[in-house]
């Protein structure tokens, strides 16, 4: 076991897989000599050579398009999209091709591509370096959608994604790369060194895709969240001494609905928290499924705390971010309404 931040854990996942499986290759903008703008692929080109770790032209659609072809030809490409905000040019290749190839060819052709992409705000990135587009991808059948919230999970889930024979879109909350974030930008930065999930096995291990993690059990309320917001929710619950159950989804598609239903059936209250914009965000699907399944056990309407339905504004970053005060207000609302 070693202390790793999320960048190191992701790097380790790719390293372990490249070592074990000669078909794994890594590609993307600046991922080669430079090791990626966030350092996630540092050292890999030196170790595995430029035939297995290479820079690409600045064309997200080209990256995904060629990765698909490589996957069809027996490789396991792990491609980086430099920011989730820049995944849209590749949208057609993801939706119409990557996600549909197995189906349309009745299983004869498949392409086990993993797309890694940093997402989320809180780094003063403005409207085009802060987005959380995961919700959109959950509407696309044929792909899996994963987002880890800590180094340990990041490594285990990335290995599972690379090994998965289905394509996976793997979002990395970049606000967490160097440490957990508790929602208060004025607090001194925390590092992963002191966090239990910053202890990461240096070797091979994997975590199942499609399994949520109950990061805290409690009985008054269920908070369903993922990515950066896991830590913000944990901090809110801790600081306010609430008896809330917090569930980190880890994977959105497939969704571990059973774990969610079990919890909400128990607590009777549900709060959904994500950083992405609200309208048709992933919280909507969560809410819809939970009210379908837990209706008779719900003692108050399910609430969502999310980013506003605006782009992420540079100057109003913290007014946009669904931070502690918004979460507390929503918890109070749920508790009050069910009182």
């Amino acid at each position: 076991m070693a202390k790793m931040n999320m960048v190191q854990a992701l790097n380790s996942a790719m390293d372990v897989m490249m070592e074990r499986d000669p078909t794994v290759i890594v590609m993307g903008q600046d991922v080669g000599y430079f090791g990626g703008v966030f350092n996630c692929t540092a050292g890999l080109q030196e170790r595995y050579g430029e035939k297995r770790v290479f820079d690409t032209p600045i064309s997200e659609a080209g990256i995904v398009g060629t990765a698909i072809g490589m996957g069809v030809n027996g490789l396991r490409p792990v491609a980086e999209i430099q920011f989730a905000d820049y995944i849209y040019p590749a949208f057609d290749q993801i939706v119409s091709e990557l996600a549909r190839l197995r189906y349309r060819s009745a299983g004869d052709f498949t392409s086990p591509v993993t797309l890694r992409s940093p997402c989320g705000g809180g780094i003063r990135g403005g409207q085009t370096h802060s987005q959380s587009p995961e919700g959109i991808f959950t509407h696309i059948c044929g792909i899996k959608v994963v987002m880890p919230s800590n180094p340990y999970d990041a490594k285990g889930l990335l290995i599972a994604s690379i090994e998965d024979d289905d394509p996976v879109v793997f979002f990395e909350p970049k606000r967490l790369y160097n440490g957990p974030f508790f929602g208060n930008p004025k607090q001194p930065a925390s590092t992963w060194a002191s966090h239990p999930k910053g202890e990461v096995d240096e070797g091979y291990y994997s975590l199942p895709i499609g399994k949520a993690d109950v990061v805290r059990s409690g009985s008054d309320l269920t908070i369903i969240t993922y990515g950066t917001m896991v830590h913000v929710c944990e901090a809110v619950v801790r600081d306010n001494e609430l008896d809330a159950e917090i569930i980190d989804l880890r994977s959105m598609l497939p969704l571990d609905i059973d774990t969610l239903v079990k919890s909400v059936d128990k607590t009777g209250r549900c709060l959904i928290v994500h950083e992405a914009t609200r309208f048709s965000g992933f919280g909507a699907e969560l809410s819809a499924q939970i009210q379908e399944r837990c209706f008779w056990n719900l003692s108050a309407p399910i609430q969502r705390v999310t980013g506003w339905d605006t782009p992420y504004p540079h100057a109003f970053e913290w007014e946009y971010f669904p931070g502690p005060s918004r979460i507390i207000a929503a918890i109070e609302k749920v508790m009050r309404e069910s009182a």
Binding site: K51, T56, T66, G69, L75, E97, A106, K144
Partner: protein
């Protein structure tokens, strides 16, 4: 030159009621275009993107350095396959008119491309066709019954009822699945070729797209990546002058040939007579050898004519001049190869007619056999369960639940 900027909207040279006009096509004499060394630098191949590589002259005689010197056997095989494709298309159009299949796309007038290239390539080369390359299945000898079954979405449909007719694939013989979305397969082919190079193999990826489809973003991505990584691949643009109702000028063919994009991106671009079996064969051999020996990608533009409607959903009389095909200066690919063989004294009109009759009959037989495996109208022969397969490798819980729901509902009906 106008004094003010004008929006140019490239029009078709002739619309219904007007006289067909192909004067815009720049042709070269058969045999007049030199064949460069296989590893010639790109700059020494630039002329190939502007002229037109032709081997068969108007008398059906093979001319010049591009003559691939094929055996009579191979030539006759090529002709036979082209006729088979045509017979297949005819049959499928008929059964569509009878309402037996929901959709069909012919490749009439373009048969030489898939057949010559299919024969010039190796088995291990992976083909990424467009929807108008059914000839590749003939070159690789897929039983036509299988293609018919796909069009019927029946029990022997390799797509298990999932795809529109004509969206075949053939894993065993390396023919990739067709997507409804244009051009998406082109960067995929490049990626496949990159993997080939990464693995140290010498299999090529070969892909086809229509001239209209070259406007799609994916085309640019394909050319860029192919050139940068020197991917062992051939990118074919089938310039059949039309994209549904729009003329090739709207895709950017007016000021420079599609082949000229090649040198623009740093790779050879060859403009070839797409109705000339020998010329196509020769340029394909050249490009394949170049790629197979580390010389990187080649772009080939086939100048041909879409003699059929775009698809069975289309009615070209609404937007094309009447009898346009008859005026197309490059003629008909079948007729041209036939003339060549007849000229060589190895083929006769009688043999030709006999073969057509035989092929037509065999298509009828095949169709009867295909029907015996079920039809779209009768409903799918696959269990309704199968609809939920292959979305993922393993069916996730939510799809299991949906499957059960559907099954229960069908039971209650």
């Amino acid at each position: 030159m106008s004094q003010k900027p004008q929006l140019r909207v490239p029009g078709a040279p002739a619309r219904p009621g007007e006289k067909p006009d192909f004067s815009y096509l720049k042709l070269s004499q058969a045999g007049s275009v030199d064949k460069p060394a296989v590893h010639a630098p790109v700059s020494d191949t630039e002329y190939l993107s502007k002229q037109l590589v032709r081997v068969l002259d108007d008398n059906g005689v093979a001319q010049g350095s591009w003559n691939p010197g094929l055996s009579v056997e191979k030539l006759r095989h090529g002709l036979k396959l082209m006729l088979a494709v045509r017979a297949f298309d005819d049959r499928m159009l008929k059964v569509h008119r009878q309402g037996k299949i929901s959709f069909y796309i012919q490749c009439r007038g373009e048969e030489a491309i898939s057949i010559a290239q299919g024969l010039a390539l190796r088995e291990g080369d992976m083909l990424f066709p467009s929807y108008r390359n059914q000839g590749l299945y003939f070159a690789r000898e897929r039983p036509v019954v299988d293609l018919m079954c796909q069009c019927l979405s029946n029990a022997r449909d390799m797509c298990r009822g999932r795809q529109l007719p004509i969206m075949y694939h053939w894993k065993e013989k390396n023919i990739f699945s067709i997507s409804g979305n244009l051009t998406t397969q082109v960067p995929q082919a490049v990626g496949w070729a990159m993997a080939s190079a990464i693995k140290g193999e010498d299999h090529l990826a070969v892909t086809w797209t229509g001239e209209g489809s070259t406007a799609e973003s994916d085309y640019h991505n394909a050319l860029t990546f192919a050139n940068v990584y020197q991917a062992p691949c051939i990118i074919n643009v089938v310039n059949n002058q039309w994209a549904i109702s729009t003329f090739q000028g709207i895709a950017g063919g007016q000021d420079s040939p599609f082949a000229a994009r090649g040198p623009g991106y740093g790779m050879p671009g060859i403009r070839v007579d797409g109705n000339d079996f020998l010329a196509i064969y020769a340029v394909t051999e050249w490009a394949a050898e170049r790629a197979r020996t580390g010389g990187g990608p080649t772009l080939i533009e086939h100048v041909t004519y879409r003699a059929s409607a775009h698809s069975t959903s289309d009615d070209p009389t609404r937007y094309r001049a009447k009898d346009e095909q008859d005026h197309f200066p490059l003629g008909d690919p079948v007729e041209r190869l036939k003339k060549h063989l007849v000229g060589l004294g190895v083929w006769t009109q009688e043999e030709h007619d006999e073969l057509i009759t035989k092929l037509d009959a065999s298509m009828v037989d095949s169709w009867q056999e295909a029907l015996s495996y079920g039809t779209t109208e009768e409903g799918s022969s696959f269990a309704v369960d199968s609809m939920f397969d292959d979305v993922y490798k393993d069916i996730p819980d939510h799809l299991v639940a949906q499957r059960e729901k559907l099954k229960r509902q069908l039971q209650n009906q």
